[in-house]
């Protein structure tokens, strides 16, 4: 029936699966993303709900880490004030590569309700660190964060590991061709 049954039967599948090493590595990477335990504002409440049993973040393979050196990604969950922005940058720089960022909620996407008169709020966390997935909402429901997590897993699955620079250069060339034509 499934993959495991094929592996069980040495004559049917031969106990062999053919595939690229890269796919397996990416599969492993995307299914065991550890995140930095880091909450900022009211989005952190939804984030906590996401961690609890109803939504169960751990089924994505996500385990909270209290040290940025052990974390694979960081969820910016809430308003980024200038006071906090410097600390976020410091935390992001301490994380080991490959690292990812999910920006959760309107505040960290674009400043949210503080976009005009917020003298103290950074208008979007992407002004200081690169963001992979934006989750809209004020605050987003845990389902939305789940969707964001699935998007991040898709992104990790498609990433190049071997001959990275060569392949990225080729992709850029093709993109240029498309733009020029």
């Amino acid at each position: 029936m499934g993959l495991l049954n094929k592996l069980d039967d040495p004559y049917y599948g031969g106990g062999i699966i053919l595939g690229k090493v890269e796919d397996i590595l990416n599969w492993g990477r995307s299914k065991s993303d550890w995140y930095l335990q880091f909450g900022l504002a009211c989005c952190a409440i939804e984030f906590m709900a996401m961690n609890a049993s109803h939504f169960d973040f751990m089924r994505f393979g996500c385990i909270p880490r209290t040290s940025p050196r052990q974390a694979d990604f960081i969820i910016i969950s809430g308003t980024v004030t200038f006071k906090m922005a410097e600390r976020i940058k410091k935390l992001y720089e301490q994380m080991a590569e490959p690292k990812y960022v999910i920006s959760m909620g309107s505040c960290s996407n674009s400043g949210g309700p503080y976009w005009e008169h917020g003298y103290h709020v950074l208008k979007g966390v992407d002004r200081i660190i690169p963001v992979d997935v934006y989750v809209p909402g004020c605050p987003p429901r845990p389902e939305a964060l789940e969707e964001g997590m699935i998007r991040l897993q898709e992104k990790i699955n498609q990433q190049a590991i071997f001959n990275k620079r060569k392949r990225i250069a080729e992709e850029d060339k093709q993109k240029e061709l498309i733009i020029n034509n």
């Binding site: 200038f82 006071k83 005009e116 008169h117 003298y119």
Partner: protein, 158 residues
């Protein structure tokens, strides 16, 4: 005790330092006092047995455009009555005596009023910014505050 009675008691004790008493429908009655007598008045309000204001529930800064002010909301947990004190100071030299030694809850409230309005509380043991970063320039909740263009290389406007 009613606000009117408290006001009469204060007036009898401090005289000219009690500038104004206002009692209007739909608004809490308040007393405007002279800032230089504020500490003595506060101490009197707390230590007189029939007043017994043992709890400072709120201390907030105000910007009246020409002047700055501080509002004190007092409450007596034992006698269940409340009272409001107000002081006004000029914008050039906004100095108000600290009531931190009378009510300990004034500590952080005064630091916040200093952080947001630049009102200096004389006698406070640690008057530094509480919300903004220590190197922040200006006092954000003043009416004439102008938002900076950048902070530590980060752009402030949208």
């Amino acid at each position: 005790m009613l606000a009117q009675e408290i006001y009469e008691k204060l007036k009898a004790e401090f005289g000219d330092a009690i500038i104004e008493f206002k009692q209007e429908p739909f608004f809490d009655p308040f007393v405007q006092v002279a800032p230089e007598k504020l500490f003595d008045i506060s101490l009197y309000l707390r230590d007189t047995p029939e007043l017994d204001f043992d709890y400072l529930s709120l201390l907030g800064g105000m910007d009246y455009k020409e002047n700055l002010g501080v509002v004190y909301h007092l409450y007596s947990i034992k006698l269940k009555h409340s009272f409001i004190l107000k002081v006004t100071v000029s914008k050039d030299n906004p100095v108000v005596p600290s009531v931190e030694r009378i009510w300990r809850s004034a500590d952080w409230h005064e630091r916040e009023a200093y952080d947001m309005f630049g009102i200096r509380f004389e006698g406070h043991h640690n008057l530094i910014r509480i919300l903004c970063p220590y190197d922040w320039e200006g006092f954000p909740l003043r009416k004439d505050y102008v938002q900076p263009d950048e902070y530590h290389g980060m752009k402030v406007p949208y």
